[in-house]
C-alpha cells in the first residue's frame, strides 16, 4: 500500500489511532507473532493484495485461520476491481473490500468512510 499517501489521508481526516506499517507480507506475518507475544491488537487491518515476499491473500488466510485473531476486522484496499479478486478475498474471510481510488481527493473520502464506519460504528470482537 502507498504508505505516505495513506498517512497523509489519515492525517487530513484527523484519524488519531496510531498507525503501524508492515511494508510487505513477511512483516505483516511478523505482526501476528508480536500479537501472540502480547503486543496490542489493532482496531483494524488495512491490507493490500499485491505485496512483496508473501502476498496479501496469504496474509489474509493466515489471519482468518488463526485461532485467536481470526475475528480481527480486515479490510482489503486494492487497486484491483476484478470480480475474481473480490470473490476470493471474501471467501478467505475479508470483512470488506475497497477498490483503492487513484485520485487523492477520492481517497480522502474513502478514509473518511473507513474512519466513521470501522473506527466508530463497528463493534470489534475484542
Amino acid at each position: 500500500m502507498d504508505v505516505d499517501l495513506t498517512r497523509r489521508a489519515f492525517a487530513r481526516q484527523r484519524v488519531l489511532n496510531p498507525i503501524q506499517v508492515a511494508r510487505d507480507g513477511e512483516e505483516a506475518l511478523q505482526c501476528l507473532q508480536a500479537w501472540e507475544m502480547g503486543a496490542d491488537l489493532p482496531a483494524l487491518i488495512l491490507l493490500d493484495l499485491k505485496l512483496p515476499k508473501v502476498d496479501g491473500l496469504e496474509v489474509l488466510r493466515t489471519i482468518k485461520t488463526h485461532p485467536r485473531f481470526h475475528a480481527l476486522p480486515v479490510i482489503i484496499l486494492s487497486t484491483s476491481g476484478e470480480d475474481r479478486d473480490i470473490l476470493t478475498a471474501y471467501q478467505e474471510g475479508a470483512n470488506s473490500y475497497i477498490v483503492k481510488p487513484v485520485d487523492f481527493d477520492r481517497f480522502i473520502e474513502v478514509v473518511e468512510h473507513l474512519q466513521t464506519y470501522w473506527l466508530s460504528l463497528n463493534i470489534p470482537p475484542f
Binding site: G81, V99, W118, N122, I123
Partner: protein, 143 residues
C-alpha cells in the same frame, strides 16, 4: 475497471416496524431507499435464499437483526454463511444488543461487521444512513 455497488440491493432482515421505518429513512437520506429488500422474519430470510437459487442477483450486503421471530438471527446468519451463493454477501449484524457474547458469536458465525442500534431515533437513522453509504458507495462485494 472500477465497479461500485451503488445500484445493488441491500437486504434488511428486520421484524420491528419502528426500526424498519428508521432504516428506510436512513437509506432515503443516502438516496438508496429504492434499493431495500425487506425480509421480516427468519423464515422469510430462508425463503429469500430460494430466490437467490432461482437466479435473483446477489445483494451488495445483508443487514441482519439478531432478535427475530420464528428462526433467530444467529441461525439465519449460519444459513446464509453456509449457503453456496449467499455466503458471498457481506452480513452486517444490526442489533440492539451490545452484549460481548452476542458480538463474539456473530463474528464466530461469519458476520462481516457488527453495529449496535442506537436508542435515540435521530441517531438510529443517521447510523442507518452511514451503513447504506458505506456498503453501497465504498465497499464492493462479489457479484
Amino acid at each position: 475497471m472500477i465497479r461500485l455497488d451503488r445500484l445493488r440491493h441491500i437486504v434488511v432482515v428486520e421484524d420491528n416496524p419502528t426500526d424498519l421505518e428508521l432504516i428506510r429513512r436512513g437509506f432515503a437520506q443516502g438516496n438508496c431507499e429504492h434499493l431495500l429488500i425487506v425480509v421480516r422474519d427468519g423464515e422469510e430470510a430462508l425463503e429469500y435464499l430460494r430466490r437467490l437459487e432461482a437466479g435473483e442477483p446477489l445483494p451488495a450486503a445483508v443487514l441482519l437483526d439478531l432478535r427475530l421471530p420464528r428462526v433467530d438471527g444467529l441461525e439465519v446468519l449460519r444459513h446464509f454463511k453456509q449457503h453456496p451463493l449467499a455466503c458471498r454477501a457481506p452480513v452486517i449484524v444490526f442489533s440492539a444488543s451490545a452484549d460481548e457474547e452476542d458480538v463474539r458469536q456473530a463474528y464466530e458465525n461469519g458476520a462481516n461487521s457488527y453495529i449496535v442500534k442506537p436508542d435515540e431515533a435521530e441517531r438510529f437513522q443517521e447510523v442507518a444512513m452511514r451503513i447504506s453509504k458505506y456498503w453501497h458507495g465504498v465497499n464492493v462485494s462479489p457479484a
